[in-house]
């Protein structure tokens, strides 16, 4: 990555000039609304630090209805050694008394709704609405305190479609503080139309034309949209592919065998997980030249994974390891409609969609013609076919188009372009 100490740099679109120290002392508030928000924006945040910005990190408590504590938002910040403002710790005592009237009013609203329209309470837990209301009311006040305290010149969030980031974006916009947001991934096919309208951002950085079209169709102002590329992929793709041999050694994977990588979604989204794993294990066992590797979703419980692994011998398992590094090592990637498949396509890897009992999670790869699917153990020889003969030409062509459309350009300069957007929001006269 380019050093801040380097001489001035022109952003890849030829417009913004990035000079060393050009962000010295600028107060930029980064808010992590979920665990991966920091991880996704880390390349940009590091760069902003290098350019002298005063980046203030903040996050809040993961209160996911007490189901468990998977993914406390602050953990990546702790691991990265960042000092951060933890909203409840800093401001909860200040807002608690103000909360009383709001909460009482909301309680009355809920009670009236239960009496007057009981049908909703038959479908949605009243307790969940009450708790979410209390948490929402409190969070709204906490982010106000955060903005009072930090007085940022710019608010940076991964995206505005998150219950923690959204009130912050709304309040920042109301105060004329610019909000720079990004996009988390490929728009899920399950998301309702009209949702990705960017109404609470001043500027939204997109990966490619596919995002642009979707957001414009959803009502976003085109002037707010800037295609910068996928930062998380852009920087590492070529590096990881070049280092694939070393990575295989690092992960203790066979240097000679074909790596069949299964990218698991959250187990709750894959009913037939045990059947799929068993079938793939049996399939690979019958072939000498293959090695079966499973990348488990980082949020799944160890005991659940252990339960599924009891029948699986000789398979390599990874959970916390870097998915993109594993993709770089793979010869064939199997996924079940999750966005990781898109990343595998960007790495040039053949993707096979698992459609065992229906239930594509987010993206229907086979319907888009960018992957072939396996629907049962009988379909698994497709792996042999792809390894021996490669993918059919129509799929290769469709993937090329898809990757270009989704990721625009993977030229290693997306962070520069994001910095360009930061500069243009901080200095409105800067061309972006």
């Amino acid at each position: 990555m380019m050093s801040a100490q380097n001489a001035k740099t022109t952003a890849a679109d030829g417009s913004a000039v990035i000079e060393p120290g050009c962000l010295a002392g600028r107060r930029i508030l980064f808010f992590a609304g979920l665990v991966h928000h920091y991880q996704r924006l880390a390349p940009l945040l590091c760069r902003l630090d290098e350019l002298g910005a005063n980046v203030i990190y903040a996050t809040t408590q993961n209160v996911n209805f007490g189901c468990d504590f998977k993914g406390d938002f602050e953990v990546p910040l702790v691991q990265a050694g960042k000092r951060y403002i933890f909203l409840p710790e800093h401001f909860e005592a200040e807002v608690a008394n103000d909360l009383v009237l709001d909460y009482r009013r909301a309680e009355r609203t809920i009670a009236e709704a239960v009496r007057s329209t009981p049908q909703w309470s038959i479908r949605l837990s009243v307790a969940a609405v009450r708790l979410r209301t209390m948490i929402g009311l409190e969070h709204d006040r906490l982010v106000r305190k955060l903005l009072d305290h930090v007085e940022p010149e710019l608010v940076l969030v991964l995206h505005e479609y998150n219950c923690w980031a959204r009130p912050l974006c709304a309040q920042a916009i109301a105060r004329d503080i610019p909000v720079l947001s990004f996009i988390e991934g490929v728009p899920y096919e399950t998301l309702p139309q009209g949702m990705l309208n960017g109404q609470l951002s001043s500027r939204i950085c997109l990966w490619g034309q596919a995002h642009y079209r979707r957001m414009v169709a959803d009502g976003a102002e085109p002037a707010k949209l800037a295609i910068i590329g996928a930062m998380h992929l852009d920087i590492v793709r070529n590096t990881y592919l070049a280092e694939a041999k070393q990575l295989r050694a690092q992960f203790d994977l066979s240097p000679k065998k074909k790596i069949i990588l299964l990218l698991m979604p959250r187990l709750c989204y894959l009913d037939a997980a045990d059947q799929i794993i068993r079938a793939l294990t049996d399939f690979v066992r019958e072939r000498r030249g293959y090695q079966f590797v499973i990348k488990w979703h980082s949020h799944d419980r160890v005991e659940e994974i252990d339960r599924l692994c009891t029948c699986v011998n000789g398979t390599k398992h990874f959970q916390s390891e870097n998915t993109l590094q594993l993709i770089a090592c793979a010869d064939v990637v199997l996924c079940s409609g999750t966005m990781a498949g898109t990343e595998a396509l960007a790495f040039g890897k053949p993707v096979i969609e698992i459609n065992w009992q229906g239930r594509n999670v987010n993206i229907n790869y086979s319907a888009r013609g960018i992957a072939q699917e396996v629907c049962s153990p009988q379909d698994l020889p497709l792996i042999d076919e792809i390894i021996t003969n490669g993918r059919p030409k129509p799929i290769i062509e469709a993937v090329e188009k898809f990757v270009a459309d989704t990721f625009s350009t993977l030229d290693g300069r997306s962070v520069d372009r994001a910095v360009g957007q930061v500069l243009s929001l901080l200095n409105p006269c800067t061309k972006s």
Binding site: F69, S125, G136
Partner: protein, 378 residues
Amino acid sequence: MAAAEQFLKSNNTLIIAIDNPHLCLGRRISAIIDRLVGRLGAKKVTVCGNCPPELATLAHRNPAMRLIPIASLGHVENEVEFMRSFNSFDTVPLLRQIRMPVSGLDLYDVAGFDGLLYPYRASCELDWSILDGLEGPYDLLVIVGGSHFNYPLPERILAEVKSRRLIAPETRCIGVPVGPLTGPLSPHWIGSCDRVLLPEARALGVLEKLYPDLPGEVCGDLLADIPQPVSVEPETSDRLNVLIDWTFLHTWQLKAILSELAQCDLRSRIRLSLTAISEETSQMLWAKWSSILEDFAPEWVYTNGNEYYRAVSEADVVIGFVCGRDVWAWRREQGGVIVCDFAGWRRAFEFEGPDPVASPKQCVSQLEQLIALAGERR
């Protein structure tokens, strides 16, 4: 007690049980239902809900009792249809009426796509078809338990029995709340009851404050002494067992106490236990606060089993929190409970327990006093 006897006359009773493992209500709910069934003398008692496992033993013992547990079906089959169904809540005025005071966003806008999706999914994945097994007519309804974030149980079951005319319009509904009576985790269905049975006068006072028009009844012999988690012999040790019993609402307050404890010279005098929902919870805490936790080498107490009840009984001191589990109520006789409220929630939620401490310093100072008292006793 004669009055309670009158309310509880029934030939065919439907009890709606609402367990909440996060609040550790199960054992108490089972004990209350056991007594209720004995008291009712009904020919038939049906218990329906998310029943704690102990109830199966009760049902096995009592031929008049029938269990209709609402079990999980597994994952929703059609994700697109599920999302369409969830989005139909868009028209529900409730979620639009609750506006965030500062940002002006409505609750649906803020929480619609994640905060409420999880409980809605959980509710869609329950096997409601088992409600077909309800056989009325019931002449008495009793709701026992707390409330659960993911299960719209009482509303759903009541709607079923009403729509199928399994109860008459005049059928009484008696509520027996278990767990905290105030705050966001309190039983939300109390207002729908005709009468509420409570273990003692303090709880009745809270009810009168919250629901001035709702008749309440102290029903000591039915409900008293229920909080007997597990009988244990007090352990004699040089070090005091201190259990910090926090819930997901209290993570930063837990950290504040641990930091304060770390600064005091108490490490050699206490043996610290911390509650956790799962192994992941404890791992997450290690990831965040390893430097603090290393000094204490805490023992983890998982709240999904007997281990928790035992730990609550065994501990010399339990540090709890407002709006969390109501350990202070269980240990009323035993004492040794410190309730923390560092955020002023007592006022917000009209907490019904003992006076809480308002800062980590006060908490540790009270702990020191309790340690000194225990030392004198020994």
